[in-house]
């Protein structure tokens, strides 16, 4: 990762206090304005401009889920999106993946607008995203099969990516025979096998125990530095975000807006227990607390679970 100068071994991490929140300027788009092209498409891998998403609730009200989201992600960058349950952060990934459509605004990947799903952007879900009717190997080669890649090449790549996540021995196992951590490694291998430029990870380690999560953090960081993918990683765990991200983006609770962005300039590899990580997390948590309180208030007053994103639940029937 030559772009991340703070990664150079032996170099003192700069700046010393990396956590000066950078507040994005809120630009009110006039309703008539045409979506502007990304300001600097040359350096942006993924560009979100003025993304809004609203939907009708069951009671017939119009609810705004995402409110003028602007975000530029550079090639090879590891961006973590943090926010309370119900801020629409998972939905944002579905939009980038092209599995759901924003109400207004534009998403550019390599300068091209996203019109639908594409194998250059692969999602890794929290759990249950793997196909239980296929073996581990068949899961990994699924995307290549859909692309029409020949059997020999598929097999070769399948075993390569299974070796990369240390699961070569489990090629012929079924998903239910694996532990939660192994399943997420299969999901990573399956995503990488289609050779996407962008990995969209939706709380992929949230359902795992702490030790397995630590190991997978190391493994993901290694794979990221070996393959140079761009990663957009959604989590509600602030420490995890700082452990992994080059940058942490904080979203507000309903409607989701970009509240602030924190560049993380700590030296890699980091560890969840590092005092610097804890200190950084403390600063972000301070910002996040209001949002969490608002989400809890909504939960108590509405009697609805805020972590259910209705627009995700409503999902696109395919």
């Amino acid at each position: 990762m030559s772009a991340n100068t703070h990664n150079l071994p032996g170099q003192f991490p700069i700046p010393i206090d990396p956590l000066v929140p950078v507040r994005p300027e809120r630009v009110k788009a006039s309703p008539l304005s045409i979506a502007r092209p990304s300001l600097s498409p040359a350096i942006s891998k993924v560009g979100l401009s003025e993304i809004c998403l609203s939907y009708n609730t069951q009671s017939g009200e119009r609810l705004l889920a995402l409110d003028h989201i602007n975000l530029q992600v550079k090639t090879g960058e590891f961006v973590c999106i943090v926010g309370p349950s119900g801020c629409g952060k998972s939905t944002l990934l579905l939009l980038i993946a092209g599995l759901h459509r924003q109400t207004s605004g534009q998403i550019l990947v390599d300068g091209q607008p996203v019109e639908g799903p594409g194998t250059d952007r692969i999602m890794i879900f929290q759990e249950h995203g793997l196909f239980p009717w296929l073996t581990v190997g068949q899961n990994v080669e699924f995307g290549m099969k859909m692309k029409g890649i020949g059997k020999a090449e598929r097999e070769e790549k399948t075993s390569y990516y299974l070796r990369l996540v240390h699961l070569a021995k489990f090629k012929d196992s079924y998903i239910h025979q694996l532990s939660g951590g192994m399943r997420q490694r299969v999901a990573i291998a399956r995503a990488l096998a289609t050779e996407p430029d962008v990995l969209l990870m939706d709380e992929p380690f949230a359902a795992l125990d702490a030790q397995t999560r630590d190991l997978l953090h190391d493994e993901l960081e290694r794979i990221w530095s070996e393959t140079g993918r761009t990663i957009i990683f959604v989590t509600h765990n602030v420490r995890e975000a700082i452990r992994l991200g080059d940058r942490v983006v904080l979203l507000t609770f309903r409607p989701g807006r970009v509240k602030s962005e924190f560049p993380v300039a700590l030296q890699r590899p980091r560890h969840l227990e590092d005092p610097a990580v804890a200190r950084a997390a403390g600063a972000i948590l301070g910002e996040l607390r209001d949002e969490i309180n608002r989400s809890l208030e909504a939960e108590y007053s509405e009697g609805v679970k805020p972590h259910v994103d209705p627009e995700v639940e409503a999902g696109v029937r395919s």
């Binding site: 999602m123 879900f125 239980p132 859909m146 025979q177 696109v316 395919s318």
Partner: protein
């Protein structure tokens, strides 16, 4: 062991009762045959190939009819499940049509297709199509959405999405409906075959009545039950076990 013992006691008692009633001649033998009379009829029926031919003809028909039902039912069910308009309109129609016994289609089938195999097939399809359609619709709705999303994300669309993702993903939820569809197909077939010279098991059953041969009637009934039971026990149990192994489901499903 305990279960086996219960089976032996129950079926032994049933058989004993049959023998007893037949021996006591409560009813005349031509109305109430002995077990060995039925056994002889079975033997004779297989000896002169009547039953083998009838089984082959009936199985052929039920496979064609059921096959058509499965293909049509899956397409219809998927359509109803994924289209709000169809769900609100056709969904209700399908449920109400289920109260119509399939043999009620027979007069219509005769006029449309004439007195031939196609009329029988039509009744078989009408008998099982609804269960398959409703099962597919229900299975498609029960199937976790994440599979469809993951599939599309990995580049599956159109037929590939259906064949490699939606169909296998909904299979555990539709297998009991497929089983029910098979049972309806089999029943509809036998009923339709009883109504004209069809060479199938239904006709052989009616032949027993025409000849006043109660042993032959019961022998054919035994055959019809046995075939239905075998298909259920071997084909569908096999599919269910296969799915349980793959998905890691408990046998309760």
């Amino acid at each position: 062991m305990k279960r086996a013992a219960r089976y032996v006691i129950f079926y032994g008692a049933l058989f004993g009762l049959w023998v007893l009633l037949a021996m006591l001649k409560v009813w005349p033998p031509y109305l109430f045959p002995t077990p060995w009379g039925v056994g002889e009829a079975l033997y004779a029926g297989f000896q002169d190939h009547t039953y083998l031919i009838a089984i082959r003809v009936s199985m052929e028909r039920v496979l064609i009819g059921y096959g058509i039902s499965v293909v049509l039912g899956m397409i219809l069910g998927l359509g109803v499940a994924s289209n709000k308009f169809l769900e609100e309109t056709m969904g209700g129609l399908l449920v109400s049509l289920q109260s119509l016994p399939s043999i009620c289609w027979w007069p219509l089938a005769l006029l449309w297709f004439g007195l031939n195999q196609n009329a029988i097939l039509f009744v078989v399809v009408m008998g099982s199509l609804l269960s398959v359609t409703l099962a597919m619709e229900d299975g498609r709705k029960q199937m976790p959405k994440i599979f469809g999303q993951a599939g599309r994300n990995l580049g599956a669309k159109g037929f590939n999405l259906f064949w490699y993702v939606l169909l296998p993903a909904s299979l555990p939820f539709i297998v009991s409906g497929l089983k029910q569809g098979w049972a309806f197909a089999w029943r509809s077939l036998i009923t339709a075959e009883m109504l004209y010279l069809s060479l199938g098991l239904g006709q052989v059953l009616m032949m027993g009545r025409d000849l006043n041969d109660m042993s032959a009637v019961i022998a054919v009934m035994v055959l019809i039950i046995a075939i239905g039971f075998l298909v259920d026990g071997i084909v569908f149990k096999g599919i269910e076990r296969h799915l349980q192994n793959k998905w890691g489901l408990t046998p309760a499903v």
